[in-house]
């Protein structure tokens, strides 16, 4: 049906126009409709985008577009192939739900004078991501990459009167720009080899590049895109930027923006480097995959370790993004490692796992950030120590949040489980790797991966348990109301997708296989997933027992148990009573476990990593008796080993360089003249001595 309209509706143009309308309406109609003009064009645009990308994925043909009149570079073609369409679909889904959510969420800011700016940058941010993914030459790629960074930067510092947000924004912008510099270098290096800025020429010349060039391109791109993706140790901006931004923006950034970096890496590795094309010796690139796996494993463990001790919900979610990006990196790395040993099906399988996890992360992380936004919307705090008991006031929000939590923890019947299952299968197949050292390292990486999963469960038990369950820790929560319907609808859409993708993974797998099949020329069989599709496919025997059936068994057991219990035990009554407080008469919220104390055992186990320091200040009733204390203040602070050990020395060495350059600027005119004197003598002597 979709293809019927193919020639009638210029979908891509409509997408672009809708987002531009959104941006312009935001600037024009501030007073009108309390934020509706900001997001309604966005919603329409996202629907168009979803249709467009589905069309490309299903049809299996790439689409070319031309937008602006020719500029100096005369390259402004856009190309949407399978890979791009897959990422566009993600952008479409997330931006659809986030925009619907924002219709309600914007009420938080609608009184601000500069709320128009928010709408403007919100729309341009999404648009720049769309165009980034569809761009087909270095120039437009870099332009939209920079625009994406810039617009998201402005969204991060939207609450700019708060100094810490400003600092977060600056760190973000600086880190992302350093990354951009490397990306630019790597792409330009490629273009210097191919002689053109167009991606087509990269594809054509990919086989002829020497391995040396490819390695340099790869390492530049890896660091450059890795900065954006937030891999350890380049992640420093992420835990600052994501919490500073308004929650809908955090959702966008975490769910799709950091994925664009993965997109770039996939392009460079699979598209422009000729890996797997059969022409070059793939074995040379095994270290790429190895690097991916190593960095991915480190990122996932580090990310989740920081996440579990965090008190701020949004920071915890931000760290969890680092962890998930790590998992995706592991998957990509496994895919490259397999590929370099010519294990093509396994490589495709690992790629599938990585992409499925990417898809899932986009979905459930946007859900979780929106949920966190809903909490902030009502309570105006993201600090878990001040929350609790939200489940009573905000039943729907908490239900959706629970879905997100279950998904991200990788529990069965939710989408996180599927991708983690696929990841584990990829790990298990690592015994096919002929190189023992690499195989063992992959085994160790699998330990890191599993450790991550274990701690993720703990993290989200903590997040959900502390903020939604138990007794409210502040009074405001007793009077709390559910968030507006639009916000619930936004969350509901992605929550539904979480469940669908969790129960019927066939959908996601087919989509990914289609999307990534397209990218290859017909003579390659790199991504053909047929052998593993039967794993989840609906077949007529028990070996094809799929998740919906397991769920049905689950439910029927539940019902049967219910019946059995009442048959055996008979009807019993329920009595509502106070929680048992060890017999003390009054029970209050301060007697509960706090977020920090909940994660304290983990902190203790990994104390060499966190390096916590304890500061106890006690005020005594009387100085002579040190046992009678009026109040005790305990402060636990963790040292950030990356900021201390890595970024500290870098910054100080840069500062030293600055001090050195300052020596040129002593203020003494004599030394200034000495510069001139020395340089002229040097040059003259050079010319005199040179033949």
């Amino acid at each position: 049906m979709i293809s019927m309209f193919e020639h009638i509706i210029p979908l891509f143009e409509l997408v672009v126009v809708s987002y531009i309308c959104g941006a312009l309406f935001s600037l024009l109609f501030r007073k009108f409709g309390s934020g509706k003009p900001f997001f309604i064009p966005t919603i329409i645009g996202s629907i168009f985008l979803i249709v467009l990308s589905l069309k490309v994925i299903i049809d299996g043909s790439s689409l070319h577009f031309e937008l602006a009149p020719d500029n100096v570079f005369s390259v402004n073609h856009f190309l949407i192939d399978g890979i791009a369409a897959f990422f566009l679909l993600l952008i479409g889904i997330v931006s659809l739900s986030v925009s619907i959510y924002s219709l309600g969420y914007i009420k938080e800011y609608i009184e601000d004078k500069h709320v128009t700016v928010f709408g403007f940058f919100f729309n341009t941010f999404i648009l720049s991501m769309i165009l980034l993914v569809s761009s087909n030459d270095v120039f437009s790629f870099i332009v939209f990459w920079e625009l994406m960074s810039l617009t998201s930067f402005f969204l991060v510092i939207y609450n700019h009167e708060n100094e810490s947000n400003l600092k977060a924004g600056i760190i973000y912008l600086i880190m992302t720009n350093l990354g951009t510099a490397l990306i630019l270098a790597s792409l330009l290096l490629l273009s210097s080899q191919s002689g053109s800025l167009s991606f087509e020429s990269f594809r054509l010349s990919s086989d002829s590049n020497s391995a040396y060039v490819k390695n340099i391109v790869f390492i530049l791109a890896f660091i450059g895109f890795g900065t954006k993706a937030g891999i350890v140790p380049l992640h420093v901006w992420l835990p600052y930027a994501h919490p500073s931004a308004p929650s809908n923006v955090s959702a966008l950034m975490s769910a799709i923006m950091i994925k664009t970096a993965i997109y770039g890496l996939i392009r460079i590795i699979y598209d422009f480097s000729g890996v797997g094309s059969g022409v070059t010796d793939n074995h040379e690139f095994v270290w790429w995959g190895f690097l991916f796996v190593t960095i991915g494993a480190i990122s996932s463990v580090v990310g989740v370790l920081y996440s579990v001790v965090e008190k701020d919900i949004k920071r915890a979610l931000a760290y969890s993004s680092i962890e998930n990006i790590g998992i995706i990196f592991i998957g990509l790395g496994l895919s490259i490692v397999f590929l370099s040993f010519d294990l093509i099906y396994l490589s495709a399988f690992a790629m599938l796992a990585a992409m499925y996890h990417l898809l899932n992360h986009a979905i459930f992380k946007s859900l979780l950030f929106m949920g966190a936004g809903a909490i902030i919307f009502r309570t105006h705090t993201a600090n878990m120590e001040k929350l609790g008991g939200l489940v009573k006031g905000m039943p729907w929000t908490s239900l959706f949040f629970l879905v997100g939590v279950l998904s991200i923890s990788g529990l069965p019947f939710f989408n996180g489980f599927v991708s983690e299952y696929l990841m584990m299968l990829s790990f298990l197949s690592s015994y096919h790797i002929p190189d023992i050292l690499i195989a063992i390292s992959v085994g160790f990486a699998s330990a890191a991966f599993a450790l991550t999963l274990g701690i993720v469960l703990a993290t989200f038990v903590k997040i959900f348990g502390i903020s939604f369950l138990s007794k409210p820790r502040t009074d405001i929560i007793y009077r709390i109301k559910e968030v507006p319907h639009t916000m619930l609808a936004g969350m509901g859409i992605v929550a539904l997708i979480c469940i669908i993708l969790g129960l019927i993974p066939f959908i996601g797998i087919t989509m990914i296989t289609h999307a990534f099949n397209l990218q290859l020329p017909p003579n390659q069989t790199l991504f053909s997933f047929e052998p593993i599709l039967s794993e989840f496919g609906a077949s007529n025997n028990l070996s094809g027992l799929s998740l919906p059936i397991v769920l049905m068994i689950f439910v029927s057991i539940l019902v049967a148990t219910l019946g059995f219990l009442y048959v055996v035990g008979g009807r019993t009554k329920q009595r509502i009573s106070e929680t048992w407080g060890c017999g003390f008469g009054y029970f209050n919220e301060r007697m509960q476990y706090t977020a920090s104390s909940l994660s304290q055992p983990i902190l203790h186990v990994f104390r060499n990593f966190y390096r916590p320091s304890l500061a106890i200040q006690s005020i005594l009733y009387h100085s002579s008796n040190s046992y009678m204390k009026e109040s005790v203040k305990i402060q636990i602070s963790n040292k950030n080993i990356f900021e201390d050990l890595m970024y500290g020395p870098i910054i100080s060495s840069v500062f030293k360089t600055y001090e050195r350059t300052k020596k040129f600027q002593t203020g003494k005119i004599n030394l200034y003249l000495l510069n001139v004197f020395v340089i002229i003598i040097l040059l003259l002597v050079y010319v005199r001595l040179s033949p």
Partner: protein, 507 residues
């Protein structure tokens, strides 16, 4: 549109245009000396710069069609390259003259300058324009040197308008170092002249037109390579001192930060380019004589050095105008580097970058001038929340800042990208990679300060509100150009830049 105007103006002979172009600022200076009333003086200066701008546009349309103008027995020589410099001079002086009214008016009201100094300022302003206008249109390289030296002297006087310690100190440094530097430039010029007239077999025969650039270029093939090399070294050091190329740039941060803001804008936006123009002319001759490699390498080395030193100096800078001054060093370095890369795209990018910088830097200086008037300090640590206190200025300042660090969709991104891509594709991969690193460093330094100043919560004692509308008009024009040139290069300009770049290609 331009076609219509040019056809109507074609009636005027180009000799008239050129002569009146030079005489206008002189006349303006004289009239200002006569009238001396604040209002009148301001109007005269704006009128004179407007008139200059018009004349430049007419000349522009000539050049686009006929590529070059030669007048009065080759005394004046205009080609596309000089047209670009001319365009920059007239445009920047036009916006500066508008901005000056508000800025100097505020200084006048605050009692920082008195009547005498105000008149002296406007006199100096016009004479400064006069001396700069001479540079690109004269053919005689000796006289170009005279004109550039004259710009130094006039600008020193303009910096000295404020009788305070810091301006005097920086004026002194500027004067001494620029004079020394330019002395070397003169030596280089004479060497080139000597190479032109020199024939080892015949006694030296001084011929007047042999110092003309056109003549030198014609005879460049027969020049003695050794002399040309030595000469070019003197030239690049001499004019490089004036152009703020490291390590001879040391006077620049002082001079540019202490002068009155409109003058800072002129110094950074145009004067540096004028000096660079001198280098480029000799670069052409040297390339014609001994091939481009020697001068290209020198340009690359000096360019990289400038960008490197400037980028690290910006990092922890505390004074707003000094930061901008270092950024000028950086940008001039980029332009120099790009000319050194050679190749059509690199030179196109270099010229575009020159233009872009001349648009963005004045905007930054204008905005910073207003900001420091508002906050009564140049210390960046004390400036917070400009977008709250002065929304329009703040946004313009932000746009300028983002443009200057090379973010799209603003103009400098385009030229930087061209330069980098041409650098990578022209076997200067190492230099381009180093450039990328330096650009990232300068980005860090610049953006950190920019954001901390623009946003945040301003101190309570600062009232919200803009200072003067005229200055906003001048800044608005610059912002418009920043955005337009970031997206699209108008065709006449494109032709002009292409012509100018092809001058380099022919040699």
């Amino acid at each position: 549109m331009i076609g219509i105007i040019s056809s109507t103006i074609r009636i005027l002979p180009e000799s008239f245009l050129v002569v009146s172009l030079i005489l206008t600022p002189l006349l303006g200076g004289i009239l200002i000396t006569i009238f001396k009333k604040k209002k009148l003086v301001e109007i005269i200066s704006v009128l004179s710069t407007t008139f200059i701008l018009f004349l430049t546009f007419f000349l522009f349309s000539y050049i686009v069609d006929f590529k070059k103008i030669t007048l009065f027995n080759e005394f004046f020589y205009l080609d596309s390259l000089s047209m670009i410099i001319l365009l920059l001079i007239s445009f920047v002086s036009f916006v500066s003259s508008i901005y000056s009214i508000n800025y100097m008016g505020k200084q006048y009201r605050d009692g920082i300058v008195d009547d005498k100094h105000l008149v002296r300022y406007y006199q100096g302003f016009n004479i400064f324009i006069f001396t700069m206008l001479l540079v690109p249109i004269i053919n005689n390289m000796g006289l170009i040197w005279v004109a550039i030296e004259a710009t130094t002297l006039v600008s020193v006087l303009l910096i000295m308008i404020y009788v305070k310690e810091d301006p005097i100190r920086s004026a002194w440094k500027y004067l001494i170092i620029a004079t020394v530097g330019l002395s070397f430039a003169l030596i280089g010029t004479i060497f080139f002249y000597y190479a032109n007239i020199h024939d080892p077999l015949l006694p030296v025969q001084p011929e007047e037109d042999k110092i003309n650039w056109t003549n030198m270029l014609e005879n460049s093939k027969s020049m003695d390579p050794m002399i040309v090399k030595i000469a070019f070294i003197f030239i690049i050091i001499g004019y490089g001192t004036k152009a703020g190329i490291a390590p001879m740039h040391t006077w620049l941060p002082d001079a540019h930060s202490e002068s009155p803001t409109p003058i800072s804008a002129m110094l950074s936006g145009v004067l540096l380019n004028c000096a660079l123009y001198g280098i480029l002319r000799f670069h052409l001759i040297s390339s014609g004589s001994i091939g481009a490699e020697f001068s290209n390498n020198l340009l690359i080395i000096f360019g990289l050095l400038s960008v490197g030193i400037a980028s690290f100096s910006v990092l922890f800078q505390k004074d707003m105008k000094r930061m901008l001054a270092y950024s000028s060093v950086e940008n001039i370095g980029i332009v120099t580097l790009a000319f050194g890369f050679g190749g059509l795209i690199a030179i196109y990018g270099a010229i575009l970058h020159m233009i872009n910088h001349a648009i963005v830097k004045p905007l930054m200086f204008f905005a910073s001038g207003k900001i420091s008037q508002k906050y009564e300090t140049k210390a960046m640590s004390k400036i917070k929340g400009i977008v709250t206190t002065m929304p329009i200025t703040g946004i313009m300042f932000l746009i300028g800042g983002l443009a200057i660090v090379g973010l799209p969709p603003f103009n400098i991104f385009l030229s930087k990208f061209m330069i980098l891509s041409s650098g990578f594709s022209s076997d200067h991969i190492l230099a381009s990679s180093v450039l990328i690193i330096f650009l990232a460093v300068i980005f860090i330094g610049f953006v950190r300060n920019l954001v901390m100043m623009s946003f945040g919560k301003p101190k309570t004692q600062i009232k919200n509100g803009e200072l003067g509308n005229l200055s906003l008009v001048s800044m608005g024009m610059l912002v418009a150009f920043i955005i337009i040139l970031g997206i699209y290069i108008p065709e006449p300009l494109d032709i002009l830049i292409n012509d100018a770049a092809s001058i380099f290609k022919q040699v």
